[in-house]
Amino acid sequence: MIFSKLVTATLAALIVIVSPVIAAQEAKKIRIGVEGAYPPFSQIDTDGKLKGFDIDIANALCGEMKVECVMVQQEFDAMIPGLLSRKIDAVIASMTITEERKRSVDFSDKYYQTPARFVAKANSKLDASAAGLKGKRIGVQRTTIHDRFATSTFTQSEIVRYTKQDEVFLDMTSGRLDGALVDLMAADIGFLKTPAGKDFAFLGPIYSDPKFFGIGAGIAVRKADSALRDRLNTAIKSIRANGTYKKIQDKYFDFDVYGDPMPTAATIKK
């Protein structure tokens, strides 16, 4: 029958179309998930190239381990699912080491550690407590530690979740949010020190409670991949020791971003 032939023919054609895409996979390279929308850690240049602290660290670690790496840019909330489904092998995306995440993935030692803080209109006079933020709209990036902390702490506030940190800042400037809970450095360099952030300022205490804010940003790997984790740990130690880390850090920050000791309100100028 002509129709069944047509069905077979089109299915065959489909397989021909799709299979080269599937076959073109190199197995040996390490695929690293990065974000690309989280300045100054990870962003995309006007010419479409990735740059930032995370990217430089990733390149330095790959150089140290003498492996070829491929950067896979994807959304933050797709990082752990991507890791679990073997789309990527490691996540270098300012991902904080937390107990909750450790249930699904494994982490290297930390490669930097910065606390979090509220950002709000400079003249807002808000009180950064659960009672003071009652009924206010707080912007966070979806599935981040800031999301988890705000969700469980400010239960009387409206938590507004965004896919990208940039979108939080866009809605801050347009006045849709009363405040945003953000990583200190991402807020400082990615927003407050840019022209768009001139009317905004930090608000309230610096948060670093390990229960929510973990013990610094680490590199997430699959639990079965302990070999890769160990190699990453060795590589982190050597770039710390041989000055590569400091060189990268000085490109972006004017203090010790590794977090020994953790920055306080006094050590950060603003």
């Binding site: 029958m1 002509i2 129709f3 069944s4 032939k5 047509l6 069905v7 089109t10 299915l11 054609a13 489909l14 179309i17 799709v18 895409v21 599937i22 996979q25 197995a27 690309g36 929308a37 962003q43 995309i44 006007t46 010419d47 479409g48 896979v72 840019q73 994807q74 959304e75 797709a78 699912p81 991507g82 679990l84 489904s85 073997r86 789309k87 990208k164 940039d166 979108e167 800042f169 866009l170 400037t173 840019t194 022209p195 768009a196």
Partner: protein, 232 residues
Amino acid sequence: MLHGLLQGFLPSILEGAAITLAVAVSSLVIALAFGLAGASAKLSKSRWLVMLATVYTTVIRGVPDLVLMLLIYYGGQTLVNTIAPKFGYEDFIDVNPFIAGVITIGFIFGAYLTETFRGAILAIPAGQREAGIAYGMSKAQAFRRIVLPQMVRLAIPGFSNNWLVLVKATALVSVIGLSDMMQRAGLAAGATREPFTFYAAVAVLYLIITTVSIILLKALEKRYSLGVKVAS
């Protein structure tokens, strides 16, 4: 002037436009395959094939493209990685945003094209095919020489409509992280804090794509309708 307005992001956005077009054309190829297969299944004598095709078109037209795309992007990878080893394929298969986007859009518009093609085939009087067979053509010959050329003409209006909807659906791939022109505009908007400028640029590019498509498809329709009387 345009270059100044877009503050150096013009090349990046044009590159994104090329990716958008690549997504659209690749999905169209897949949609055509699914559409032909679907229409054939719906018109076949096998009850199972008819049912399968009906479930396909009903489910696809009942669920938003964004939901299907998120499902394939977040879930497709897990599925592929569970199934592939069972068939002895140990190597890693990457479902990147491009593949997820193209497969989803192709799969969705395959369902719409199924209906278009089915309608076009049914619109050709059965007597014509029978006449071909009476002249000694095989069934395949009768289909290729008599049904197919007329079917193309009858399917063009529905096809045009589907292509235009498909082009607009490509904007959704930005949501799953493919760096099409929509995503490039988003990055530029984040960097410059001028979202209107960049999304307006994307809107203009989409208008150009749809306008050119409409002109080309009109010409195609004219070409295939030669020899058909038009009542005016």
